[in-house]
């Protein structure tokens, strides 16, 4: 629905909203209204929101803006590669880094963090690959040192996912609710000691060089997703359980990442023993299914998923499934039949 609006939004949004002309002022009002709707949905204040045009840039701003040379950066082994890149850079600059291990279920125990001034902790709401959720009220909420800063990675979070009470910065990706690529939302909590880590020349906290049509389309997509979220989530959970049940009953030697109770049902990662993912993906495509994988699938990509490796889940023979609201039981059942056939065929070879 948001995609259909894009042409209209591009036609209406070419003006500079900072100018004094009437149409520019109208656009500025439209942007402010969209920002308010966004803030309400994300349960933060409008003044805390910044719009960025690149997700990687968003990670850098959100996390590096909390760090200084004396900071101890604490993040988990299942965090996104952007976090590892920032951690490497922090170490090169003389900073300290601690990596928290994951258990087999993908859960992180933040109670291991020793209280210290200048801790900067990364907390991930939902893992992009496996869908494993970290609780915002578990061990992360017990980090009570007033000097500890917390970056909440909400980039794969479902709509309505709660921020930890002690968050300092947060980042959302519009694609996680069906919005376009190229827009991310950075939140900087009022009163938090955050410093823009990039050179900047004006009084703006963060550069406002983002695509206005993409921003407006992201907010429309969020509103659309909000409308049917509860019904969609219930249906998707049933599909997720159906796949898990089928695999457990019909395909031996399968390793499913994460428990259904602790995972976002939109995502599912399964690895199959004695199987090359590349071959399985090619054969599934011939049957009409485009499936992603966390395995090292090609000669150019020798490293398997660091998330699966950190959890201790099998990294070869891996498939990643994404459940969308328009999927039906019939489509999922057809896919499962094809999956079982292809796995049996590949294992015979």
């Amino acid at each position: 629905m948001a995609a259909g609006l894009l042409v209209d939004l591009f036609e209406r949004s070419w003006r500079d909203p900072a100018k004094v002309h009437g149409p520019s002022a109208e656009l500025a009002i439209l942007i402010n209204g969209a920002k308010e709707n966004l803030a309400n949905s994300l349960k933060i204040s409008t003044a805390e929101i910044e719009i960025v045009s690149d997700l990687n840039l968003g990670f850098h701003l959100a996390l590096s803006g909390l760090l200084n040379r004396n900071s101890k950066l604490i993040h988990s082994a299942v965090d996104r590669k952007d976090i590892f890149a920032i951690a490497r850079s922090h170490q090169i600059n003389g900073g300290e880094v601690q990596v928290l291990e994951s258990n087999l279920s993908g859960k992180i125990d933040y109670s291991d963090i020793k209280p210290a001034a200048q801790n900067v902790v990364v907390w991930q709401s939902c893992n992009r690959e496996t869908g494993v959720l970290q609780s915002p009220i578990g061990s992360i909420s017990k980090i009570t040192n007033s000097k500890t800063l917390l970056f909440a990675d909400m980039t794969s979070a479902s709509i309505g996912a709660e921020l930890p009470a002690n968050w300092s910065t947060a980042l959302w990706d519009a694609t996680s609710w069906g919005g376009p690529k190229g827009i991310a939302f950075l939140a900087i909590r009022n009163g938090v000691n955050w410093v823009n880590p990039l050179p900047h020349i004006d009084m703006e906290r963060v550069s406002n060089a983002f695509s206005i049509p993409l921003f407006l389309a992201s907010v429309v997509a969020l509103e659309n997703s909000n409308k049917d979220f509860e019904t969609d989530s219930r249906d998707i959970l049933e599909l997720n359980k159906r796949v898990r049940g089928f695999v457990a009953a019909n395909i031996p030697d399968a390793d499913i990442a994460g428990n259904v109770e602790d995972s976002d049902p939109r995502k599912l990662s399964i690895s199959f023993l004695y199987l090359q993912a590349e071959e399985l993906l090619r054969n599934l495509e011939k049957s009409g299914y485009l499936v992603d994988s966390g395995s090292a699938c090609s000669a150019a990509d020798l490293a398997p998923s660091h998330v699966l490796a950190a959890m201790g889940i099998l990294t070869h023979g891996n498939i990643r499934l994404t459940f969308r609201p328009d999927l039906t039981i019939a489509i999922v059942d057809q896919f499962l039949t094809a999956l079982k056939t292809e796995i049996e065929r590949a294992r015979l070879d």
Partner: protein, 61 residues
């Protein structure tokens, strides 16, 4: 030899052995230790990492 071949070949070799027999595996694939550990958990066998590229597998089932 890249994963999953070290696991597949080890599992094949293990079938011909008795309980507590051992296999020495040499592999420089970066995924070998992670996948060997996962395979041991799933299959009920035991594995030990000697160094970066050498592993010891003990048949338990």
């Amino acid at each position: 030899m890249r994963c999953p071949l070290p696991i597949i070949e080890s599992a094949k070799a293990l079938k011909t052995l008795m309980t507590d027999d051992q296999i020495s595996l040499q592999s420089d694939d970066p995924a070998t230790w992670v996948d060997l550990s996962a395979w041991a958990r799933m299959s009920g066998n035991e594995v030990l990492q000697i160094d970066k590229t050498n592993f010891l597998i003990t048949k338990k089932r």
